[in-house]
Amino acid sequence: MPKLHALTAKETVEKIRSKEATAEECVLSFFERIHRVEDKVHAFVTIVEEEALKKAKEIDKKVSEGKPLGRLAGVAIAVKDVICTKGIRTTCSSRMLEKFVPPYNATVIEKIKEEDGIVIGKTNMDEFAMGSSTETSYFGPTHNPWDLSRVPGGSSGGSAAAISTDEAILAFGTDTGGSVRCPASYCSVVGVKPTYGLVSRYGLIAYANSLEQIGPMSRDVYDCALFLSVIAGHDPKDSTSVKAAAKDYTESLIGDVEGLTIGVPKEFFGEGTNEDVEKEVWNGIHKLEELGASCGETSLPSLEYALATYYIVAMSEASSNLARYDGIRYGYRIDRDNGDWSTVYSKNRRIGFGAEVRRRIILGTYALSTGYYDKYYLKALKIRTLIRRDFENAFKKFNVLIGPTMPVPPFKIGEKIQDPLALYMCDVDTVSANLAGLPAISVPCGFTDGLPVGMQITAPPLREDLMLHVAYTFEQNTPYKNRKPPLK
């Protein structure tokens, strides 16, 4: 029998339902695993052993009393530390929120609790979700389980690493410009960025709110579909929440792509794409062709401008969103604060925020300032329209679009961090889905020198079912799901 921490969510729920294992045994197996590997990987900022065990015992009581169980009964879930958890500190991996303990739960947390999911801890991330490597965390970097000297991707690097090392079954990530898909690709797990508005953002600490979505991360496509089915749905507490009917996405997991059309935009294989990555992704596309899909190359010319457009929009929104951190209601505050308000705020924000967060706030402030608003921010919003149109046209011809998730394999810790622009370039294939509000998934599609490669499948708005269907078929016909990192 495989170890309890190696089971999928589906298997765990079945085991607990059939009384082959208790929720307590399942949860304990995760903490044992965490204590064994965590000092090498550093996926977590906070671990909540006591609360998790209490919850597990409640579930076991339900089982013994014959009460109905939720869809995630006993499933160990890691939560990116940007999502508010009542009574559990939520830091955004920032000194600014090092001691912040939210007085309420995000909607997605309420939803998993209703289904008997168990929160086991909060995962490390790039500070305020700004980064693609989890190196900007105030608490230090997370290490890639496939090669500890390399980055796990970001900003949801802790979540991806935790799943890949069996420290959690499911994990919440958030994706503003690729922050779920990038680490999913780098750690060889599955990660979904849902259609904008499908999952409530209530209780998500905002960075760039017209772009970001909370997304499920898991070891396989089935679990991702199950997790998404639980967290999706309209929320009156989020005014940008879509009024779409609840769906069971596991029903769309058909292992057959016969008759589907796949578009391969040449812009996804642009300058700077690693040859091995390109080869692995093309192998993946040919695999889908073998399985009955028809593929055609296409072009979305505006994607050339997606990266610049994304950074202008994201930084502008960040400068406005992060204005709330003044150290008065919450957050870091200097001790000697007898100066005037402006000086005190400026010092709080200098010490509370790391360099990348300050860079983005300052550049965003510039892009929104008088005289530059039209040149940068408004111009970027107009290009955003052109990018949306390109996707609309492509989806007239194709069911889904496929390309690499990341242009290069996981890089070394410290390799790019001194050069912000070089790091931004890594997001070139992921940001367009956020600008256009589209659903996209990263699924494992191979390895190069022992390092994972991810394939990105993008679908039209609210067609997560179609996207998961293609991803599932691919996964069922390739061996990558079963490969584990060399960590004991």
């Binding site: 005014s239 050339e304 005190v344 200098r350 329209t385």
Partner: protein, 97 residues
Amino acid sequence: MKRRHLSKKEVEHIAWLAHIELSEKEKITFTEQFNSILDYFKKIDKVDTEDVQPTYHVLDLMNVYREDETTPSLPPEDTLKNAPKKEKRFLKAPRIV
């Protein structure tokens, strides 16, 4: 030689607008980094956006209303729990005037 978009003095001014203090060393590195990032952003200048409407939001949602009903709020002690400085039931702010 690349065009300089921002001088160190301008960076100081924008940082002041954003209420972020910078060290002398940081003013220099940030100015350099901002100039290379803005140089990259220049590529959007050549895009023809004449007659293109901006996308502020991907959803075409307008004026989301709800019933004007009161629901329970958090108790004051909970809302004050994270404040670094407080007095009685008030947040303590630095000197404003």
